[in-house]
Symmetry: C2
Subunit: 196 residues, 2 copies
Amino acid sequence: MKPEFIPIRNYISQFICITDSEWAIHEEKLTKRFFKKGEFLLKPGEVCGHVSFINSGSFRSFSVLEHEERTYFFAFENEYVTDYESFLSRQPSPNSIQAMEDAEVLQLSYEDMQYCYEKIPVWQKFGRLIAEYIYMGVSKRAYNLQTQTPEQLYLKILNDSPKLVERVPQHYIASYLGIKPESLSRIRGRLAATRN
Amino acid sequence: MKPEFIPIRNYISQFICITDSEWAIHEEKLTKRFFKKGEFLLKPGEVCGHVSFINSGSFRSFSVLEHEERTYFFAFENEYVTDYESFLSRQPSPNSIQAMEDAEVLQLSYEDMQYCYEKIPVWQKFGRLIAEYIYMGVSKRAYNLQTQTPEQLYLKILNDSPKLVERVPQHYIASYLGIKPESLSRIRGRLAATRN
């Protein structure tokens, strides 16, 4: 197996046992693509046609509403990035997905995903487990948005996802928390003062 | 087939083709249960052990945070109700699920769900499609919470789910929108004034 396929096979193997012959069916449908920092994987109004496994780099999903950016999620190496809602529904997405750093991804198209569901029986189980996994993530996010203050949300990020704070520009994190960059600066100031 | 199984079989058949013999495996694992209005299907600190298909009645999921109720979803007849996150993760839920009206449900336990995954090959596909479906719902909710004002959210409910406004007490709807009952009254007043 080419080294570029090792991370994705490891990732999938966390969810299901896949034989070499089943893997081969999936692997031949993968397409390698590169994104320059700032390049768009998805633009508003497009149907998201792929799931993309990130070999390196990172992405951000966002939209612009009333001249303000709202950030929905970040994605890093060794995970998938997609607009899952648009991918599943075949409806245009109102959102963008943009590379935050130069990135290499392995893409599987919607049609090839259906092909895998047909040809690889265990792929249904993978689809179920990954849908459940993604559900848990977005459900947690909805819960946090409804129950936590921006400061609590930021503390959670510091605690659970330190790489996010290291690799993502502050104003993106602010828009992910639903606040202005100035408010995030104040929160950071308060937290630093508490620590001293 | 007993009439009480017709709605759930119809519901499942929207997602997959299930043969009579496959159906029989599932049906024998279903348990009928009744809930009086106000009775709890799930209490905080419990692991949600079932998915419950609602034959009649309705439920609400909520939690109490800093003496304030937050409502996460409502569920009505002809759909499932569960704390899906707790059900999937086998972790205690911080939330309650309570009957808003007298209710009859058909319950499938977590263990019997796994049994169905083993014994009914097409059940994996059902699990995938239902997980995707539930994902779409919660994803839309997270998106709306992040992008809409309470007034816009209320208008959406009026438009998309009129039965919710008819059957759910106002203060539950307010807590679903993340606002105080007085604020919902003001929104309703404004909307009524606009309409006249």
